[in-house]
């Protein structure tokens, strides 16, 4: 089968590989680059577990071919921690606020929340819920996922996190 050369930047590193055109981006990331952080959940573009950040957009990488991402700048969960090894505010938020149970949806949730906070640094609870409506948590742990994102937003804005009264 004919292959195409693709080059892209993944988590700040330049990668060049040969791919079959039909290779989905999620398979390319997981099986050729061995970046297994993003998961394949539903494989039908519903669940968001495969979400990556691509050229400033949140994209479901199970519904894009790797060849379409030729030249793109991609970030996955493996590229989220700070360069000194400390956690990104979102990762910290998910840990502090118990934003994960089984953890399967977490990398997709964090990548989606990353772009959401880039576009809207101080989202309301409603905006967070709408913003992550393309990500499913099979443990139904949404309350704490929302809190985790609020925690991260507060930290990134340099203000103390205050939990809303229930």
């Amino acid at each position: 089968m004919a292959t195409s050369q693709v080059s892209m930047t993944v988590n700040g590193k330049k990668v060049e590989q040969l791919v079959e055109p039909r290779t989905l981006l999620i398979h390319f990331l997981r099986e050729q680059l061995m970046l297994t952080g993003q998961h394949i959940g539903c494989d039908t573009s519903h669940c968001g577990a495969c979400t990556v950040d691509l050229d400033g957009k949140s994209v479901k990488s199970c519904t894009m071919f790797a060849v379409q991402a030729n030249g793109a700048d991609i970030r996955t969960i493996e590229g989220m921690a700070n360069s000194d090894g400390t956690l990104h505010a979102l990762q910290e938020g998910f840990r502090e606020m118990h934003g994960l149970q089984c953890g399967f949806c977490t990398p997709g949730m964090i990548m989606r929340a990353y772009r959401l906070l880039q576009e809207n640094p101080s989202p309301s609870e409603e905006e967070i819920r709408f913003g992550i409506s393309g990500n499913l948590c099979r443990c139904t742990g949404y309350q704490n996922i929302v809190k985790a994102i609020q925690f991260a937003a507060a930290k990134l804005n340099g203000v103390p996190y205050q939990e809303a009264a229930e």
Binding site: E20, R22, L24, K60, T63, V67, L116, G134
Partner: protein, 287 residues
């Protein structure tokens, strides 16, 4: 799920894309956002042997004013429609509709051109385009314009000929201060409509002076409810008139019974969505 093998082409101009499409013949498909086509390829419901990616053609993108029209490039994404200040001012129903399509990730990638050209009766934009009286600019061996109201012939079956690509969507800007609404009933985020209704109207002196109505996913094609709109025009949108218009709109539906409900239910929901859309459009139109 892994799609069948194909050869990938990434033209950088519309002419090159049209040339490839005509050269490669019927086993070639164009791909824009791919959020309808790739799932179908993964299920092997579609197995094109050649894929022509429109993603690298700069002049297929963008939103511009042209006289009294707004022209939107076919590969403009739903996300870009939502973020457009020009559209928010001039044709706000497009933002309202876009926000009800799929989910955030899909809207970053899914395109207006794909939504209108694919012929999926579940897509939201076709009924809105019929409501707005949009035309589709098409390029194949020659160029032509097709009215949205004459474009849809059956499920996944449109007036597009083999070798043709929708390059842009041209929409006449409704009058300033017009009322509008897109009301969509769906089971969950990301679902297609159980039924949905688009309304654009103008009101003067308490009376409806113009009205157009589109219906989504209650027939093999999107529907333009011409009779219902006529019933409403000239009225004050009093309860009796709305009831008559709703009955007229319900009469032209022929939905399938499926996971979204039995056909009679979906017909009734089309009526409910229309009544709500009329009420909201009336509020916004300043009655």
């Amino acid at each position: 799920m892994i799609p069948g093998a194909f050869a990938y082409h990434r033209p950088s101009s519309i002419e090159e894309a049209v040339g490839l499409l005509s050269k490669l013949g019927e086993d070639a498909r164009v791909i824009a956002g791919g959020h309808s086509l790739i799932p179908m390829m993964k299920l092997r419901l579609a197995s094109p042997t050649n894929l022509i990616d429109l993603g690298n053609i700069a002049n297929l993108k963008g939103i511009r004013e042209d006289g009294g029209d707004i022209v939107i490039g076919a590969t403009t994404t739903q996300h870009e429609l939502i973020r457009s200040d020009l559209l928010a001012r001039k044709i706000p129903i497009l933002r309202e509709t876009s926000l009800l399509i799929a989910d955030p990730q899909v809207r970053y990638v899914g395109t207006l051109g794909g939504n209108v050209a694919n012929g999926d009766p579940g897509n939201d934009m076709p009924a809105v385009m019929m409501c707005l009286g949009a035309t589709y600019e098409v390029k194949g061996k020659s160029e032509r314009c097709m009215a949205a109201r004459e474009f849809y012939q059956g499920a996944y079956f449109t007036a597009l000929e083999p070798g043709e690509i929708v390059t842009a969507i041209r929409i006449p800007v409704p009058s300033a201060g017009h009322g509008y609404s897109y009301e969509k009933l769906k089971r969950k985020v990301g679902d297609y409509a159980t039924a949905a209704a688009a309304v654009v109207l103008a009101i003067s002196g308490g009376k409806v002076t113009t009205c157009s109505i589109g219906l989504t996913n209650v027939a093999e094609t999107p529907l333009w409810a011409e009779e219902a709109a006529k019933i409403v025009t000239g009225s004050t949108l009093d309860a009796a008139t709305v009831k008559k218009a709703v009955a007229s709109a319900e009469a032209i539906t022929s939905p399938a019974s499926d996971g979204r409900g039995p056909a009679q239910y979906r017909t009734k929901m089309a009526g409910v969505m229309l009544a709500r859309a009329l009420a909201r459009a009336r509020e916004r139109g300043g009655a």
